[in-house]
């Protein structure tokens, strides 16, 4: 099994006729993903290598039964694309687009969440259930089917970690990049809950970064609710301190947000933290053996 997407997921690609959209549509189909429709406003009626193109997501859903969408449109138009997908009844919207202003994303999420739509991203590499379905831009070949769930705020760092896992024979149930922006839809906690309930996920790798307090909250959740082994990695231990967000930033962060603080929180929750990417595989093997 896997979470969120599998061989039955039917994907509509928003922005399918664009540069990135058409390139990655090909990549997704080569991986075996059911790409049932594309949407580009004003270009309805086209056929893109066998994928029918519609003017609106509503029409695409009506005609093809698409239940997931992936968004490759540019930042100025991406919020409207997410709204359109949600109002058309799409359950899972994967927003690859980067550069969406954070406040606008806050507005979008406030509007679409009550509609029952789950947004992954924005600024996300997407997600993949190896061997079943890939939605996004990650290189499919580095993944292997298996029982490790991977959740990450990064893009390419996730590929690195997945590649490490695969090299050690640790296949993945589902790998999700939740996106690196300040305001995102699906968060660590949401994904951890799904991995917890997925019988085929036996261990979890959590890849964090400096900034925010999502890793600290994830650590608290894992220590209280998860019975599955988890391995952490935090990027940015040696990063220069970010530009100060005035006093307000200091007041709300209350000292959280540094790599050291995140590592401490994870270790306090009993989660082994890899010091270098190459440690992730061995640590996970060790944890699975001990579990």
């Amino acid at each position: 099994m896997s979470i969120l997407i599998d061989e039955n997921t039917k994907v509509v690609v928003q922005g399918i006729t664009g540069h990135d959209g058409s390139f990655h549509t090909r990549g997704m189909r080569e991986y075996g993903t059911q790409v049932v429709a594309g949407v580009t406003p004003g270009k309805g009626g086209l056929d893109l290598e066998g994928v029918p193109v519609f003017n609106t997501v509503a029409e695409a859903v009506r005609e093809t039964g698409a239940n997931a969408s992936v968004i490759y449109v540019r930042a100025p138009f991406a919020p409207d694309a997410i709204r359109e997908a949600a109002h058309a009844g799409i359950e899972l919207v994967v927003a690859i687009s980067e550069g969406i202003p954070a406040l606008e994303m806050a507005r979008v999420l406030r509007e679409v969440t009550p509609l029952g739509t789950r947004v992954v991203g924005p600024n996300s590499p997407g997600l993949i259930s190896p061997g079943k379905c890939k939605i996004g831009i990650m290189p499919g070949a580095i993944h292997a089917p298996g029982k490790i769930g991977v959740v990450s705020r990064s893009g390419t760092l996730t590929y690195e970690m997945v590649w490490q896992l695969s090299q050690h024979g640790l296949g993945q149930s589902t790998c999700i990049g939740i996106g690196g922006d300040p305001i995102i839809g699906t968060c660590f906690l949401d994904v951890l809950r799904l991995f917890k309930d997925d019988p085929d996920t036996e261990g979890v790798v959590l890849i964090g970064e400096i900034g925010g307090s999502a890793e600290e909250e994830a650590a608290a959740y894992i220590s209280q609710e998860m019975r599955k082994p988890a391995i952490g990695f935090i990027a940015g231990r040696t990063a220069p301190p970010g530009k100060r967000m005035g006093h307000a930033g200091a007041i709300i962060s209350q000292g959280r947000g540094t790599a050291d603080e995140k590592v401490r929180a994870l270790e306090a929750a009993g989660i082994a933290v890899a010091r270098v990417p190459a440690e992730v595989g061995p640590l996970m093997k060790q944890a699975l053996g001990a579990a």
Binding site: H24, P76, G99, A106, R107, P139, G155, L157, I183, P240
Partner: protein, 383 residues
């Protein structure tokens, strides 16, 4: 993106917040003229993109034009946290009855903007927050409308017992929230907000941080960028869509993705090296971006080796390889280049580089970093 105090005040003022009339000057002579025009005692304030100006000697009271010129001369010699002072704001000095803190920020955990206020404003606000958090009052507000009038009153009555004065603060809070939203800001802060002897409220300082994504979409915000605010390298980086932060080390890093870039720097440190920079070439790369990245790094005289760590997704390894080859054709680069390429179009990328014979290959991130560290240390490395 940070904007200067005087720019923030201009924006806040446009939203009806009372700010002092002030003059932006670049020389001590201009500071003298400004003080003379304003009359009476003035405050001379360094305009730099960092906090802690007061403690660094960047804010001085002057009794009149002559003292203003002298103080300006001193401040213009300063470099505060690495930012040389190139502009000053000269404002009239005011009689202060009370100092408050008010600030709006985007709360990423709850996904909503947050207004924070305290009856004890001033430079020690962070200490107030740490030691007596109950003196900081917070309320989320609507990202479309800003703080509602009734929310503003609820906050204001908590920090000001006088009813009439609380209504004055409430009015200001609504305006601050609207300024925050209109600018698509990540932070809009007034500290201190002061109550003057006549009962009016005045933004004595002003801080505004903009969301880079919002700036990228709006010309009015882009126009606020200070060309003096940072070095020439980051301007070139921005032009090519690169995210670049110079550091002190000698290993120039070129990575795709912020997370992998940080992990690469961490690994450099782990193996005893010292990164010269953070440089993320971003998602959709092109050969031109890679050329620009190499130009920026080779301009940094500390750099002794260049390390590429590319895991292709949207980024295509062949584009990166083409960029390296093009850069080498355009300019003579003497520095060793260690390259790790994995992912999308990896095979083609390797082919291009192998044909040119320009780079030292590494199969993994660890191997690449180790080779780069050894090269920087002057050790021989085999390609």
């Amino acid at each position: 993106m940070n904007v200067h105090e005087y720019q923030a005040k201009e924006i806040f003022g446009r939203h009806g917040i009372h700010v002092l009339e002030g003059r932006v000057v670049r020389t001590a002579a201009e500071a003298r003229q400004a003080a003379a025009a304003l009359g009476g005692p003035v405050v001379v304030k360094a305009q730099v993109h960092t906090g802690g100006r007061g403690k660094a000697g960047g804010i001085k009271l002057a009794s009149g034009p002559e003292e203003a010129e002298a103080k300006a001369t001193d401040i213009l010699k300063l470099s505060i946290k690495g930012f040389p002072v190139r502009k000053l704001l000269v404002t009239p000095a005011v009689e202060i009855e009370h100092e408050y803190y008010v600030g709006a920020i985007l709360d990423r955990e709850d996904g909503l903007p947050l207004m924070m206020v305290s009856g004890e404003g001033g430079i020690d606000i962070e200490e107030v927050a740490a030691k007596t958090p109950e003196k900081i009052h917070k309320l989320h507000f609507d990202p479309d409308h800003g703080l509602r009038a009734f929310q503003a009153r609820e906050l204001a009555h908590k920090i000001e017992p006088n009813g009439r004065q609380a209504l004055g603060i409430a009015t200001l809070l609504v305006k601050l929230s609207k300024a925050f939203l209109a600018a698509g800001a990540s932070l809009a802060e007034i500290n201190p907000l002061v109550r003057c002897a006549d009962g009016t409220f005045l933004a004595l300082d002003a801080k505004l941080n903009l969301d880079d994504s919002e700036v990228a979409l709006r010309k009015d915000l882009e126009a606020l960028r200070d060309p003096d605010g940072s070095g020439g390298h980051t301007d070139k980086a921005r032009e090519f869509g690169l995210s670049y932060i110079p550091l002190e080390g000698d290993i120039g890093c070129v990575v795709n993705g912020a997370g992998l870039a940080m992990a690469t720097m961490d690994l450099v440190k782990h193996f005893g090296g010292d990164p010269a920079n953070f440089l993320d070439i971003g998602g959709s790369s092109s050969p031109a971006k890679v050329v620009a990245a190499l130009e920026i790094l080779t301009a940094d005289k500390h750099v002794r080796v260049i390390l590429f760590n590319i895991f292709g997704g949207i980024t295509r390894c062949d584009h990166v390889a083409e960029g390296i080859v093009a850069a080498l054709e355009q300019t003579h680069i003497e520095l060793p280049i260690v390259v790790r390429l994995t992912g999308t179009n990896e095979g083609r990328g390797r082919e291009i580089l192998e044909e040119s014979g320009a780079a030292i290959f590494a199969g993994t991130m660890e191997e690449a970093v180790q080779k780069a560290v050894a090269l920087a240390a002057g050790t021989e490395v085999k390609g």
